[in-house]
């Protein structure tokens, strides 16, 4: 008989790992103990060698699905007595921090069954959870993940709950947020008075029934979720959706919907097994699904004109209770397999693009005039976390992230083990900001923080730096940032570098986009990088955005770029595609048409005049998309980033793939670089009356052109791998079409998957490049400021 000590790191706390260990030890007739500590879980087991080997092996293979083992170290230790069973010891504080809190999980089937069982003591209790489900990250202030360190600390467990919490065999053994109606958090309900002010509603009313009544009436209801508040309304009610949009400042962004189950979703969207798996995932992301032909008619105003619908399934017991109420409070869970008509718009309550509201008082105050009612509760949200958004990628088992937040953070993205292990903190870009902290061979990408033109988002970024470095106990050796001198993230990076006396490393925007994909695919060899996005600051100070790069670790070479397009009025041009349409006409030598084509634009004559002069230019792919949309007149102005390109994609989707009779592009050598000119495609499209055909043509011409361009570079560079990144790859027609076009040429295309392809993934790439800069000093030049 021998004894061994096992140290396990990763997501092993709050996921039922200790009860699992207990059961496993019991099954293998081993004695010893298990204990949580700051670095994860430590186990000592005593028994025969084969049983101990089996124990270590099954610890990995049979672990609870929401656990994630990063490392498992085994060492012999001194044998003790004859062993008296297996015990679960209290947590030990201190030590090196290697543990990670798990992400939030949706309610599990066992808890769902209890929730709808009238005989259960937690029947219709909105805070039911167990070690397999419930909140984690958003309620935890610090490690180790113990109740005292969460926002459940103020709720003392009743004897019944405490008994479950202490029984090693119980599903709720050490379920930190464990609660019941007699001891746990409670719901509250507020209704807007005539002046919009929130008034508490008498505790005798049922908050769930009341909220549903409001929703059915066409009201906007603020509902507290896991990582923040949602604004909800009846998605089938056109005037309710319209009201919500008007109150959210006439926002035009597509809204996400929540339905009870997959059966209810078929009405609106087509989906296969991959999509179903993504929807059912315990993280419960919003999944983008291709709409059915009549979806816009069924869900008026929810995502008008776009090809995609964002949908998710309920994840909190409270959300399930709303559907249960709508179904007439059926007993049991059979109703959950049947289509349910209730369809809710669920959009983040983040007025004016500021951080998601998490606090009750803040919700009551700031949603005044927006919400007609509030459904909230007294369990505090400590960490803000937006809903995640994913999209299935054809031919890939795991979907692609468009926004990585609730349900995933703080799960690490594993990096190549052999690569640099320097710990760095990257502060990302300007829009859709996220930050990334590395620890050994793991990259922790923060939840979505937001656009840094908002003061509150800037403060949230600072708070996220403190939270993540504190939680992971990492002291970064360097900071990484964008080259744009006026990003708040750049300034904060320089400030922190100064404060911590570590270097600040500037990483070019598109280099970082490509590197983010290399990081998650654990690739290191030189690759071709095709970065297509809006604008990013180039090493020459110009706005880049359609770049063909050769990326080799800390270095990159700009092999080619799109033909520069005149861009009048800086960021204004990016919001008004008609200006880019005019710019395209100028490029085609057809200035004279500008005033007639854009006769409705009061600024057309002035823009035409300015285009005769010396206008600044950009190589941005996004602006070429805008030019196409502007020429077609489908989206003269945008109310959110990428809107014009999304409309073009939606139109093209209706037509399907086109075959091109002849190429509609030119490749020229300009200053030693390959310049891709798409103006022939725009010339063609400018004469077309059918906008759907024109949109499809533009996509086909673009894919053809890019494949040609990249193919030529692959030939001359002798590189077969093409990494595609940047916000334009959110366009599925482009991503899919290019993948197959490159395959035809024998090239392999790598895409972003674990991190968003747009600026939400930028920090990961910055971190990757910065680590290589530290490894290869002298191989690169920091532009500095």
């Amino acid at each position: 008989m021998i004894r061994r000590r096992l140290r396990v790191t990763g997501i092993v706390q709050g996921v039922g790992f200790r009860p699992f260990t207990h059961r496993l030890a019991h099954a293998l007739q081993l004695s010893g103990w298990v204990r949580n500590d700051a670095s994860g879980v430590t186990i000592e087991v005593q028994g025969d060698a084969p049983a101990l080997d089996a124990f270590a092996a099954r610890l990995r293979t049979d672990a609870p699905s929401s656990a994630q083992i990063d490392t498992l170290e085994v060492e012999p230790c001194e044998r003790l007595g004859d062993g008296a069973g297996f015990q679960i010891l209290d947590s030990e504080a201190g030590g090196t921090q290697r543990a990670t809190i798990g992400p939030d999980l949706c309610i599990c089937p066992a808890c769902l069954a209890e929730l709808f069982d009238p005989a259960n003591r937690r029947y219709r209790y909105a805070f039911i959870n167990c070690t397999d489900c419930g909140p984690r990250y958003t309620i935890a202030a610090r490690l180790p993940y113990d109740r005292a360190n969460t926002s459940m600390a103020r709720f003392a467990q009743c004897p019944a709950c405490l008994a479950e919490y202490r029984a090693p065999g119980d599903r709720r053994f050490h379920a930190e947020p464990n609660a019941c109606p007699s001891c746990g958090p409670r719901l509250g309900f507020f209704r807007a008075a005539d002046d919009g002010k929130a008034l508490p509603v008498s505790p005798t009313v049922d908050p769930v029934a009341e909220a549903l009544a409001h929703l059915r009436r066409g009201d906007v209801v603020a509902i507290k979720g896991l990582g923040g508040f949602h604004l909800a309304c009846d998605a089938r009610n056109a005037s309710a959706v319209e009201k919500l949009r008007t109150r959210k400042n006439r926002e035009e962004k597509p809204l996400a919907v929540m339905v009870a189950n997959l059966a209810s979703l078929s009405e609106f969207a087509a989906f296969g097994a991959t999509e179903a798996a993504a929807l059912n995932d315990v993280a419960r992301p919003i999944v983008l699904l291709p709409k059915r032909g009549d979806t816009d008619a069924r869900l008026p105003g929810v995502a008008p004109g776009l090809g995609w619908l964002g949908a998710m399934l309920p994840y909190t017991p409270l959300q399930y209770l709303l559907f249960h109420e709508a179904a007439g409070r059926p007993s049991g869970t059979d109703w959950l397999a049947e289509p349910q008509p209730l369809t809710l718009v669920m959009t983040s309550a983040n007025p004016h693009g500021e951080p998601l509201i998490t606090d009750d008082d803040e919700a009551l105050e700031r949603l005044r005039g927006i919400a007609d009612a509030w459904l909230l509760h007294d369990r505090e949200i400590l960490i803000r976390c937006d809903d995640s958004v994913v999209r299935p990628l054809a031919g890939q088992a795991t979907p692609q992230f468009l926004r990585r937040a609730r349900g995933y953070t703080p799960r690490a993205i594993p990096l190549a083990a052999a690569a640099s292990r320097h710990d760095v903190l990257a502060l990302g870009g300007f829009f859709k900001n996220t930050l990334c902290l590395t620890r050994g061979d793991q990259a922790f990408l923060s939840q979505h923080i937001g656009d840094l033109d908002r003061v509150a988002n800037c403060r949230a970024l600072e708070a996220a730096v403190d939270h993540l470095t504190g939680l992971l106990q990492v002291k970064p050796e360097a900071l990484a940032h964008d080259l744009h001198p006026d990003f708040f993230s750049t300034r904060l990076a320089l400030q922190l570098a100064e404060r911590w006396q570590v270097p600040a490393l500037g990483v070019q925007h598109h280099h970082a986009h490509i590197a983010a994909v290399l990081a998650e695919h654990k690739r290191d060899a030189p690759v071709l990088g095709l970065a297509l996005d809006g604008v990013g600051f180039g090493t020459d100070g110009q706005p880049w955005g359609g770049e063909l790069l050769r990326v080799d670790g800390a270095q990159f070479e700009r092999l080619g770029h799109l033909r520069p397009l005149p861009m009048l009025g800086g960021d204004r041009a990016a919001r008004e595609p008609w200006r880019m349409g005019a710019a395209a006409l100028a490029l085609l030598g057809r200035q004279d048409e500008i005033t007639t084509r854009f006769a409705k634009e009061p600024g057309a004559a002035a823009v035409a005049q300015m285009l005769r002069g010396h206008a600044p230019t950009t190589t941005s792919m996004g602006r070429w998309f805008d030019a196409a949309a502007g020429l077609l007149g489908i989206q003269p102005r945008m109310s959110f980033e990428g809107q014009a390109a999304m409309r073009l994609e939606g139109l093209a989707q209706a037509v399907g793939p086109l075959r091109l009779a002849a190429p509609l592009h030119r490749i020229d050598t300009v200053a030693g670089r390959m310049q891709l000119d798409l103006s022939p495609a725009l010339a063609e499209l400018s004469e077309m009356a059918d906008v759907k055909q024109a949109a499809a043509l533009f996509h086909a011409a673009l894919i053809y052109a890019l494949a040609d361009w990249v193919g030529a570079a692959a030939e001359s560079q002798g590189i077969r791998t093409v990494v595609c990144a940047g916000g334009c790859f959110l366009n599925a027609i482009l991503a899919l079409g290019l993948r197959s076009a490159l395959q035809h040429r024998g090239l392999t295309m790598l895409e972003a998957q674990a991190a968003p392809p747009g600026d939400g993934g930028l920090a990961l790439g910055q971190a990757w490049v910065a680590r290589r800069m530290i490894e290869q000093p002298g191989a690169w030049k920091n532009p500095g400021f």
């Binding site: 033109d453 908002r454 604008v535």
Partner: protein, 331 residues
């Protein structure tokens, strides 16, 4: 204009031009420097200098000549000083039309006379063609600061009010429109003006004024960020309260400029204790150059020193300082 062998004669010609138009005893004395008495009983002196390069040289509402006089007078005034005398240095490019020079000199002379601040000494150099951009003018001003006046942005306290003296963005937009060859229904004119009279009235009424500054290059945003970082507090302004002419706002839209970052040449930004704000506003409004003055915001407690703006749609936008031009950020 030419330089070299014939340069001496030319320099004499220019010198005569100046003497004739600027016309004062100091210049007539023909000395290399001007010797002047100090007003009796004044505590401190203030001196400011500014080099003026502007393209185009002539623009609606003014030209480089009057701009160079106004700019320096305003710099003296923003330090709390009563401007007394000016000096002017010219760098002319060979081949610069004499007629243009004459026009500029006349304009300078008029501006100086109107402001009642004589140009008492000067210098001219002519450089080879291609080594200058037509004409550069450096002006230096000297003035006296009355006792009891202490303008220093480090004195700004949370709660203090921020005021501006009128419509913002006129100068920058007039210049940009001209460069882009744009014309608008309502002509946008530069606001270039000497505002020492307004500043003097304000200081007389509210001697406890914390800070004054003219929002020239970098506009209001640059000034507010300078204030915030000097004072170690935050500033919040309200978009609705910031005076911007409709036509300037429209031109900014077209040009993609943010009026907060556009240069002004005849406006000031003032910070005063909250209790003095209304009185100061009244005083400003009763001066012709402060007719459209407004209280636009206040200093707040914020260790970050952020400058933020409550937008018309709600929410708070960051009003960051910029490294250089307004660079595109949308990705």
């Amino acid at each position: 204009l030419s330089h070299g062998s014939g340069g001496r004669a030319m320099a004499q010609l220019i010198h005569d031009l100046f003497v004739r138009h600027f016309d004062n005893d100091y210049l007539r004395a023909q000395n290399d420097g001007a010797c002047f008495p100090l007003p009796a009983g004044t505590g401190r002196m203030v001196m400011a200098t500014d080099s003026h390069v502007v393209s185009p040289l002539f623009f609606p509402g003014g030209d480089i000549g009057c701009l160079s006089v106004h700019g320096t007078i305003n710099d003296v005034a923003m330090a709390g000083g009563k401007p007394l005398y000016l000096a002017a240095g010219f760098i002319l490019e060979e081949g610069f039309p004499l007629a243009d020079l004459q026009r500029i000199v006349v304009s300078m002379a008029e501006a100086a006379r109107e402001a009642d601040v004589p140009i008492v000494t000067g210098d001219t150099k002519v450089v080879e063609q291609g080594k200058g951009d037509g004409v550069f003018i450096t002006t230096t001003g000297i003035g006296v600061v009355p006792d009891g006046i202490l303008l220093d942005p480090r004195r700004i306290q949370p709660g203090d009010r921020i005021l501006v003296s009128g419509y913002l963005g006129d100068h920058g937009v007039a210049i940009m429109s001209l460069r882009e060859n744009l014309s608008f229904d309502t002509a946008i004119k530069s606001d270039t003006a000497a505002i020492h009279g307004l500043a003097a009235d304000m200081l007389a009424a509210v001697p406890g004024l914390r800070a004054l500054r003219d929002p020239t290059r970098g506009g209001l945003a640059a000034v507010l960020n300078e204030f915030a970082s000097a004072a170690g507090c935050g500033i919040v302004i309200r978009e609705k309260a910031v005076p911007v002419r409709d036509e300037v706002a429209a031109a900014c839209e077209l040009l993609g400029l943010d009026p907060l970052y556009v240069a002004n040449e005849g406006k000031l930004v003032a910070v005063c204790p909250a209790e003095d704000a209304e009185h100061l506003l009244d005083v400003m409004r009763s001066h012709p150059q402060g007719r459209d003055a407004a209280i636009i915001g206040e200093a707040i407690v914020d260790p970050n020193g952020f400058v933020q703006m409550e937008t018309t749609f709600g929410g708070r936008r960051m009003v960051d300082w910029l490294t250089g031009e307004q660079l595109p950020r949308i990705c």
